[in-house]
């Protein structure tokens, strides 16, 4: 893999779930590339396809109930073609994932230490002593107090924040280049969330990780991301450097999301809310999926799904009326 190539390159990814009565079009043409060492936040509402996109990067979708098209290249590997031993090697060693709920990643019947040791020895020919020493170092790295003692702890014996740290340690056990984080702080309290965000920022810098972080919270994206990709109904509708997205959003959906926040609204005033609700992914409108809620929508918006248009350095949006709206 040459150095200039992006670490992650997703092209025209579509994911359709076919298990139910009607096919669910969860991801509808996502294209995203992430440079080595870059942190990208996938921002969007519930059901917009953030987690499905992320899970594609680990080739985690159920084979018989999902249909994937497009390509996903990570660290030079064609992820959707991996299977068996190669896929197992890729997961954990090239890319690994952390979740909102650590109990999904941690096994309740083994100690934290045993799980980290096992993960290391599954991927590498390390002796038990070497693996144990690395497990201890990992717990230190994620700033778990009294790490020697914590190696012997079971997940349920730890508080929420400590479990989150333990899960991060487990994800980093085999020195992955890519860390995928799916709402890692959503279930945490404010004072614990900020600790975990700062830890992720620090580990990313120290280890040079390439990170995709999924969140529905703009504040979380601002704290950790270099770049933000805003998802709506299975598409990235706008992507750009975090400053640009916050200060100069160009897609009407991004603009609407920022304008409707209680964050800087006058107390007691009414919020500038986006009307309606996100579309049903089993019955997507043919044109721009946001058109039914968009105050700028025109006839053309209902007919044709907009392509991606560059609106600045590294900044692009999918909206047919970008030029007119900018001029207005």
């Amino acid at each position: 893999m040459n150095d200039a190539a992006p670490m992650i390159d997703i092209r025209d990814l579509t994911v359709t779930f076919t298990g139910g009565r009607k096919p669910v079009h969860a991801v509808n043409g996502v294209t995203l590339s992430v440079q080595r060492g870059e942190v990208v936040a996938l921002l969007g509402e519930s059901g917009s396809g953030k987690s499905v996109t992320l899970r594609s990067l680990l080739n985690m979708h159920p084979k018989h109930r999902s249909r994937l098209n497009g390509s996903v290249i990570a660290a030079g590997q064609d992820v959707l073609k991996l299977s068996g031993r190669a896929l197992a090697d890729y997961r954990g060693r090239v890319a690994s994932m952390i979740f909102q709920e650590p109990l999904l990643a941690l096994d309740p019947v083994y100690t934290v230490g045993a799980q980290i040791v096992e993960a290391i020895r599954r991927h590498e020919k390390a002796t038990l002593a070497v693996a144990q020493a690395r497990a201890l170092a990992l717990l230190q790295k994620v700033r778990i107090p009294s790490p020697e003692r914590r190696l012997q702890a079971f997940p349920h014996e730890m508080s929420g924040g400590m479990r989150q740290r333990a899960m991060i340690a487990l994800a980093l056990a085999c020195n992955p280049q890519i860390l995928l984080a799916d709402e890692p702080t959503t279930a945490l309290d404010a004072t614990v969330q900020i600790q975990i965000l700062l830890l992720l920022r620090e580990l990313q810098r120290e280890l040079g990780l390439t990170v995709i972080l999924v969140t529905h919270d703009i504040g979380v994206a601002v704290e950790v991301a270099d770049r933000v990709a805003v998802m709506y109904a299975g598409r990235i509708v706008e992507t750009g450097p975090v400053r640009e997205i916050i200060r100069n959003p160009r897609h009407p959906y991004t603009q609407g999301l920022l304008a409707s926040r209680a964050h800087d609204a006058m107390s007691g005033a009414r919020l500038d809310a986006i009307p309606g609700a996100p579309p049903d992914l089993a019955a997507l409108p043919p044109g721009c999926a946001f058109a039914p809620r968009c105050r700028f929508s025109a006839a053309a918006c209902l007919a044709e799904a907009p392509g991606s248009v560059a609106v600045g350095p590294q900044h692009s949006a999918r909206c047919l009326r970008l030029a007119e709206l900018a001029a207005a």
Partner: protein, 348 residues
């Protein structure tokens, strides 16, 4: 405070608090070990006092497990308190004011929009249910349900006959709000009522809550872990920590100049909205302690950046502070023995 439209049920006038809560306590026994019988308790709510003024919105914030929902359930009389008194517009609940009369006037909306609705009832029947139980004839109750549907922004002709599973989360929460209003309550307790909604839908429901409050002269208790939303909604805010009130005061004051070190840390933990002013250090380390065995003295002393030796020995009472809030911190109490406190006032 805005003018509250005159309500014939109003007794003590606008200055009398709608609700006065005195030393409310609820401990839950926990089963430890197979033989059970231990006296271990979770001190979920451990002496909570506050007044709720007519027509205001009181926000309650604090980390999970600090006792927000237990406080709400106690106020609703869904669970009996171990101790404490609730006075509603001058009348002691359960004594001067019989429980059924109190319950009509206080309603609650929960976070989980689905669990709160009976899946077998149509939307109109769900909304009409409580009035019918209270003896309102069916036709009248359904008529009122349709009015309420329109008020919460759901066209009655399209929605009245639907079932809960045919609605989105935001629509279901509108139904829950309509249901809470069906008995024309004076107080509505909103416990994380918008927390499960998408951001774009949350804004709509917050606007709706503000409109309804104005239209019906309601008083709200608004519980949320989202401090931005509380700042927007609340006139006053109460910060809880491990079953106790750390600070209570005007929302503007508490957000701009928190007086309790915990409130300050909680606010400073909110993610920055400015990419050029990201948070550099976390205000607190670790998780909140377990309410089964809370720290001695000030419950915050194990995490407090201003802790002094007196803090582990003396439990600070909730007292008026110079800043106008009521605060439970020894630093803010003259003569407490905390080095940062002012010396005791001379009593002439």
């Amino acid at each position: 405070m805005k003018d509250v439209p005159h309500d014939p049920r109003d007794r003590g006038g606008p200055r009398q608090p709608l609700l006065s809560v005195n030393r409310l306590i609820k401990h839950f026994p926990v089963n430890k070990g197979l033989l059970g019988r231990s006296k271990t308790v979770v001190r979920a709510v451990d002496g909570v006092d506050f007044d709720l003024l007519k027509g205001e919105t009181l926000g309650i914030v604090g980390e999970s497990g600090c006792g927000k929902s237990t406080t709400a359930r106690l106020l609703m009389h869904l669970i009996p308190p171990d101790h404490g008194e609730i006075v509603f517009d001058g009348e002691s609940v359960g004594h001067d004011l019989p429980l059924p009369d109190y319950r009509r006037q206080v309603q609650m909306v929960f976070q989980d929009s689905y669990a709160s609705l009976n899946p077998r009832l149509t939307i109109e029947d769900s909304i009409a249910f409580a009035p019918r139980v209270h003896g309102v004839p069916r036709r009248e109750a359904l008529g009122r349900a349709h009015d309420l549907l329109a008020r919460v922004g759901l066209e009655p002709s399209r929605f009245a006959g639907r079932y809960p599973h045919e609605l989105s989360g935001g629509q279901r929460q509108r139904i829950n709000i309509a249901r809470a209003l069906a008995l024309e309550p004076r107080l509505v307790i909103l416990d994380e009522a918008v927390s499960a909604l998408d951001k774009s839908v949350e804004a709509q429901v917050l606007n709706l809550l503000l409109d309804l409050k104005e239209a019906f002269g309601l008083t709200y208790i608004f519980i949320s872990h989202d401090l931005n939303v509380v700042r927007f909604m609340a006139d006053r805010v109460m910060v809880m920590y491990l079953g106790k009130v750390a600070e209570i005061g005007s929302a503007q004051q508490v957000f701009a100049q928190p007086s309790h070190p915990y409130s300050a840390a909680l606010l400073a933990s909110m993610p920055a909205m400015d990419p050029d002013a990201r948070t550099e250090t976390a205000p607190l380390y670790g998780d909140p302690p377990n309410p089964i065995n809370p720290p001695s003295g000030c419950r915050f002393h194990t995490r407090c950046g201003s802790v002094a030796s007196v803090c582990s020995q003396v439990e600070p009472a909730l007292e008026d502070a110079a800043s106008g809030q009521r605060v439970a911190c020894l630093m803010r109490q003259p003569g407490s023995g905390h080095p940062a406190a002012m010396p005791a006032l001379e009593v002439a």
